[in-house]
């Protein structure tokens, strides 16, 4: 993530301003290759290390309102701090200690959801 610059706040601004293909390339290749891998694993009925078949992890019941609303809340924050959850840890590894503050914010958001978020449409 560091070497491909996906952890860069500037890259995220650039992505949402559609001024570079870079981030779309990363996500596009990741999704296409992962989809192929998952399809092959299912198709060949490959067993996982614990002897099971590959299935959709934690499938969700469709709730358009919930998905769009939750996604939008996430996106509002993502574009502001310029990093999604994974890069928070990567940036800490890169020596940006201020990401601890973002992590505290994220944990507070997690706790807020755990305590009151259940009332939102699910």
């Amino acid at each position: 993530m560091t070497k491909s610059e996906a952890i860069s706040w500037y890259r995220i601004v650039e992505m949402f301003r559609f001024e570079s293909f870079h981030m779309y390339g990363i996500i596009g290749v990741a999704v296409a290759a992962s989809a192929l891998i998952v399809w092959l694993m299912k198709r060949t009925q490959m067993k996982t290390l614990d002897g099971k078949l590959v299935v959709v992890p934690n499938p969700m019941t469709l709730n358009v309102k919930r998905h769009l609303l939750a996604g939008s809340i996430f996106g509002l924050g993502w574009a502001l701090i310029g990093s999604c959850p994974g890069p928070i840890y990567v940036l800490l590894g890169n020596g940006y200690s201020i990401l601890l503050l973002i992590l505290v914010g994220a944990l507070a958001g997690t706790i807020a959801y755990g305590s009151i978020g259940q009332k939102l449409p699910h």
Binding site: K3, A33, G71, G75, P85, V90, I98, A106
Partner: protein, 198 residues
């Protein structure tokens, strides 16, 4: 010349995309799933949030691997910055640079390390506006990730690889929110957020 020179150059986006797909393969093969925001939930449970809030009162058995995913992610960043640092800042487009410059964010000097990763002129320990933005932005990401049950790794990559409609809708949501912030909020907010480079 050392063997690390080639690795120190920025990697092409396709390399990173394939690396992410490799993570999906390994975790799926291990009977797990690639979704890193679950670590937030686990941290809250470890911290004892389960005593007061039933949502966090869960069994962490079988989730310890998440800790290793987090440590690995951290170490990846550490290794990349210690031994494989790129010779030049992130090569963002001229138009993005101009947009930021108009709002007081010089590139790359707004990142004190000049690597072009984080604008430390906004996000540092002494800029009050930046501190609020970091906490607030982090809050939205944490809240949204739990409400939507997943973040970029869980929905955009894993969920879409499994062709899940809920994941696609969540990702569309990511972009609705991201576009609102970037086009309607950042243009005026950035000017207010920029402090001295620290």
């Amino acid at each position: 010349m050392t063997g690390l020179d080639g690795l120190s150059q920025p990697w092409h986006w396709s390399v990173s995309g394939l690396a992410l797909a490799t993570i999906v393969f390994l975790l799926t093969w291990m009977g797990r799933k690639f979704g890193i925001s679950s670590s937030f939930e686990a941290m809250c449970t470890v911290g004892g949030a389960g005593r007061k809030i039933p949502y966090f009162n869960t069994d962490l058995k079988g989730k310890s691997w998440l800790l290793f995913l987090v440590i690995g992610t951290f170490l990846g960043g550490f290794i990349a910055s210690e031994w494989l640092q790129s010779p030049a800042p992130v090569d963002i487009s001229e138009s993005t640079i101009a947009f930021l410059q108009e709002r007081g964010l010089d590139y790359p000097s707004s990142d004190a390390t000049e690597r072009g990763f984080i604008p430390t002129s906004i996000f540092n320990w002494s800029n009050g506006a930046g501190i609020i933005a970091a906490l607030f932005g982090g809050f939205l990401v944490g809240f949204g990730a739990r409400y939507g049950r997943g973040c970029t790794s869980g929905h955009a990559i894993t969920g879409m690889a499994h062709l899940q409609l809920p994941s696609l809708l969540t990702v569309i949501g990511f972009f609705i929110g991201g576009l609102i912030t970037t086009h309607l909020v950042l243009p005026w907010l950035l000017t207010l957020l920029v402090g001295d480079v620290a």
